[in-house]
Amino acid sequence: MDALEVCIQEADFDLGTEVRRLREAHRDVGAVVAFLGTVRDYQDRPEGGLQGMELEHYPGMTESAIQHMIAEARQRFDMKSVRVIHRVGRLNVQDQIVMVAVASAHRGEAFAACEFLMDYLKTQAPFWKKEWTPQGGQWVDARDSDDRAVERWGLKGQGTSQ
């Protein structure tokens, strides 16, 4: 197992560099799929524009939860190599938050593995987001749609609608 598969960090990252590393690690890689999640503002926010976001994690558990989900993904999909980077700390609108990149022989497996990992991460990896607006800070609620996304893979969601 590659020790560099998972990284939780405050620092920003460069998608191009990460994709190049994945591509170059194996001669039989024919497809790389990378998902990039960013901090978005939205117009319908009654409390005004988003000033920034704060991300908290559970050091140790967060890394092992992601390693566990990578092991689960390897059972289901052909993945030559994978890299997950999740930022924590203070972030601004349009900043990069998360990257999941998968290298496979063929695109079908790479697309599926990347989506599986991202759906799993949304409901199983201990991260918490707090949004900052001119009115102050507000912890983000978990979404039922994230539960439905992970349940489609036959996995249990968080049951946030109970």
Partner: protein
């Protein structure tokens, strides 16, 4: 036996990052939660049974009926919202 209790996100803001608690072996996470709730405010507010509180024993997600049989680390936190 002593267990370490850790709180995250909104629970951490209300209760602090961590504390130590004396427990008898075999106690369930749910019973520990009840004991904390019995302290009153702010514990009762953020750990109340109608709240969506998730838990982890030794850094693995667990259910509230999980029985704690040795020293270790118990964490309480809201549903996760990463990605």
């Amino acid at each position: 036996m002593k267990i370490r209790i850790r709180y995250f996100a909104a629970l951490r803001e209300a209760l602090g990052p961590q504390e130590e608690l004396d427990c008898e072996p075999g106690v369930t996470v749910s019973q520990i939660r009840d004991r904390l709730v019995a302290r009153g405010t702010p514990y009762a507010d953020v750990l109340a049974t109608h709240r969506l509180v998730r838990c982890a024993w030794n850094q693995h997600m667990c259910e509230l009926n999980h029985a704690v049989t040795s020293e270790g680390e118990l964490a309480f936190f809201p549903p996760v919202t990463g990605g």
